[in-house]
Amino acid sequence: MTGLRRWLGRLSTGGTTRAALFLLIVLVVWDQRQIGGLTVRLIESYLVLATPLIVASIGVTLVIITREFDLSAAGVVTLVNVLMATSLQSLNPWLMVVVFVLLGAGIGLVNGVLVVYGKLPGIAVTLATLVIPQGLALIRLKTPGGIVPRTLVDALKTHATVPRALILILALAAAWLVFRRTRLGMYMFAIGKDEEALRLSGVSTRAVRIAIFSIAGALYGFAGVLIALTTETGDANIGNAYLLSTFAAVAVGGTAFVGGTGSAIGSIFGALTLVAIPKVLFVLGISNWMVQVVTGIIILIAVLLGAIAARRAKDREMLSAHYADVGDDSA
């Protein structure tokens, strides 16, 4: 029992490590049961399929780290997906991407400004910026359809020695590692831990909040582009799947919803795990209807292990405070 507890304890210390382990288990099961094993082609299409969720959940991760909430991801990806398939078709496709990423950033900016200057809770503001873009998308495209620029689809999907999607995912991970060591990245962690202390330290916390909402919005815009490229169509109902799965990816990725802590790399693992679950259930011969149940169970396990880690950290804090007391007395 104590051995098991110690093992659980070690497992629960690093959120990202935990998420990597989840993914590894899922992939091993998939590889074992897939007839012919996991081929390069299979992995390639799997990675492509996962890119939109990965990008969107990184955006959500940033906002969660600042101890805010952002529901707008699902709205922005829907609107951008529909616009990708229906609008600006005469534009240079790469310029289209830039425009839609900026559209996402603009919606994120609105979120940030309303939260900061309107002193409104993020969950309320982003509920509006979830529903409004979804509504606009429905007006624009009542039934799924449209055309997505071939150049871009090929850029993501063309078979290569190193899959394009893998390059994209690695680039995102690298960007995260750099970003969290920039001033903005460090203030992002600081604001989630103690906004007032950061303000008293002479940092403009308003600017930090608005910047993070905007970056998250840009990522949602990019995720919307990627949905269009993976599905090669526009669909005004696509966002519903993203509303909860972005948060699920963040949770499975080991980011606690307490602010001041979290990892985009964990969220990448989390998103990859969630996208693999239907595949694994399929090869295991389990009904597709079980996907939600299994996903829910995995989220629960992830959150539970995270809570154990948090409790252990708190115990350590209490102990160190106690020792500090003893130290002061002997001084």
């Binding site: 920039t182 001033r183 962690f189 600081a190 950061l198 008293l200 940092v203 403009s204 209490m318």
Partner: protein, 509 residues
């Protein structure tokens, strides 16, 4: 004479509460100027106005002749103001080095390099002779005294022209390092605003000082040979004479002990407190901000952790993990918390529902609350607490502070508690409501309830208590009974000043 800082007519209110009222202050170049005053005198508000964290309602501040623009921390910094805050502005999930350099983190190609931060921080730490702080250590792993030192160092190392230190020694075991560094800065031309309630330190360090009371400047002193007693009476002032109801019956000398604590400890906040509180006794607790009073009250009520010691009620060991357990354990401890609007009451529910919320079991049949019985129960308890009946049906959030307080008292009476803990029960309520609360205290005591109350208003402690316990730095600094319960005695003990009370936290055993 060069003027380093001039504050003219500064006023600030938070809602109805007046924090600063027309405050004037002039600092000479190169002086160490003390600001003293009781809790809530406006010291921290003044600091936050100067630091650009709070926008005053009226008034002007000029720094070396240049007008300061308010509410802009950058402007304050650029004017040469650097502040160490009382509540510590450190980020626990960043390292010592990152905290030290936070406002101006060094970047290369946009990246904040771990090593360059550590290197620069190490230079600062060495230069300022703080060898025991490791720049790579996370701030959350530091003891409180090291955090305090880091907070002051961060304000000092930029060598500001105006250094503001708000209670910089609250958690600092020895002041030698701090005072030496402050004097070094002053020799190099820095002006210092030193906020403290420790008169010994002020005598040692400061050249001049200003006394604040209720947000107003009420006095000043021009040298360190000030008379401590006259300074203390300036801090207390002569407020409206409130008439405290006299005790109806003498406390019987053989009244049994109800609540007893031995070595009660809460982390570093409360360090080994022994208390004996008898049936019907009213014990007042006096302390300046942050001396462990919250830990004592919340720990006893099960609303906060307890890390050591024992508590017994009527001789039986007691340890509550939650407020509900505290209420139910044998005969019960009830806490009337501070900030009633947040912690104690359900603002949207009716007064009736609030009064009966902890006693619903008495009016419930088959899992349903019997409305008529509930109202009857609440009306009885409300009448005992002098709460006018017309308020019963209203939402508690709409009641005045005094009536909210009576609601809490009525609820507590219904809970049948044996020990009643009241944390600052008269804060923010009007004088007549205060008198009613005093009457309620007396009645509860007459019914044999052991009462412990904390108040920031020292006259209340003097007027109501059978005994006054003064906390300082998490320990009992003085226990006063009978004729010894006097305002000057209480305040002297609370500021760590006075005959048998040692002057430094490290000597307080």
């Amino acid at each position: 004479m060069v003027t380093a800082l001039e504050v003219a007519g500064l006023s600030k209110s938070f809602g109805d509460a007046r924090a600063l009222e027309n405050a004037d202050l002039v600092l000479r170049q190169g002086e160490i100027h003390a600001i003293v005053g009781e809790n809530g005198a406006g010291k921290s508000t003044l600091v936050k106005c100067l630091a650009g964290m709070v926008v005053p309602d009226a008034g002007e501040v000029s720094v070396r002749g240049a007008l300061l623009s308010f509410g802009n921390s950058r402007a304050s910094r650029e004017a040469g103001i650097s502040t160490s805050f009382q509540e510590l502005s450190l980020l626990s999930n960043l390292t010592v080095g990152e905290n030290l350099l936070i406002a101006e983190l060094p970047t290369r190609l946009g990246i904040v390099g771990r090593r360059s931060v550590a290197r620069r921080a190490k230079e600062v730490l060495d230069e300022w002779e703080v060898p025991d702080l490791d720049p790579d250590m996370l701030v959350e792993d530091l003891p409180l005294s090291a955090k305090q030192r880091l907070e002051t160092l961060r304000a000092m190392y930029v060598r500001p022209s105006l250094l503001i230190l708000d209670e910089p020694t609250a958690a600092l075991p020895d002041t030698d390092w701090l005072f030496a560094k402050i004097r070094e800065l002053v020799r190099a031309g820095t002006t210092v605003l030193y906020i403290s309630h420790k008169l010994g330190e002020i005598r040692e360090l400061c050249d001049r000082g200003t006394v604040l009371r209720n947000g107003e400047v009420v006095g000043s002193f021009d040298d360190s040979n000030f008379d401590a007693n006259s300074l203390i009476s300036m801090m207390i002032g002569r407020s409206i004479e409130l008439v405290f109801p006299a005790r109806q019956h003498e406390l019987p000398p053989d009244a049994p002990t109800v609540l007893q604590t031995r070595g009660m400890t809460v982390g570093t906040k409360l360090r080994g407190v022994d208390l004996d509180i008898r049936e019907g006794e009213i014990v007042g607790v006096a302390a300046l901000e942050g001396q462990g009073q919250r830990a004592l009250f919340y720990g006893l009520a099960g609303a906060g952790p307890m890390t050591g010691g024992t508590v017994t009620i009527d001789g039986r060991p007691y340890r509550a993990k939650t407020p509900r357990a505290a209420l139910n354990s044998g005969r019960g401890i009830a806490l009337v918390p501070e900030e009633r609007k947040i912690e104690g009451l359900f603002a949207d529910l009716s007064t009736v529902q609030n009064i009966t919320s902890t006693a619903l079991g008495r009016v419930t049949s088959f899992g349903l609350v019997r409305g008529a019985a509930e109202v009857q129960l609440a009306a009885g308890a409300g009448a005992d607490a002098q709460l006018p009946a017309e308020f019963l049906a209203r939402e508690v959030g709409q009641l005045s502070g005094g009536n909210q307080q009576k609601t809490v008292l009525a609820r507590t009476a219904l809970s049948g508690a044996r020990v009643l803990l009241m944390f600052d029960p008269t804060r923010g309520i009007d004088p007549s409501a205060k008198l009613e609360v005093y009457g309620m205290l007396r009645r509860a005591s007459a019914e044999g309830i052991a009462l412990v109350f904390y108040s920031t208003e020292i006259p209340e402690l003097v007027g109501l208590s059978d005994r006054v316990v003064v906390l300082y730095n998490g320990r009992i600094a003085a226990e006063l009974t009978g004729e010894a319960i006097r305002e000057d005695h209480i305040l002297a003990a609370a500021v760590g000043h006075g005959g048998e009370i040692p002057d430094g936290p490290e000597q307080v055993k």
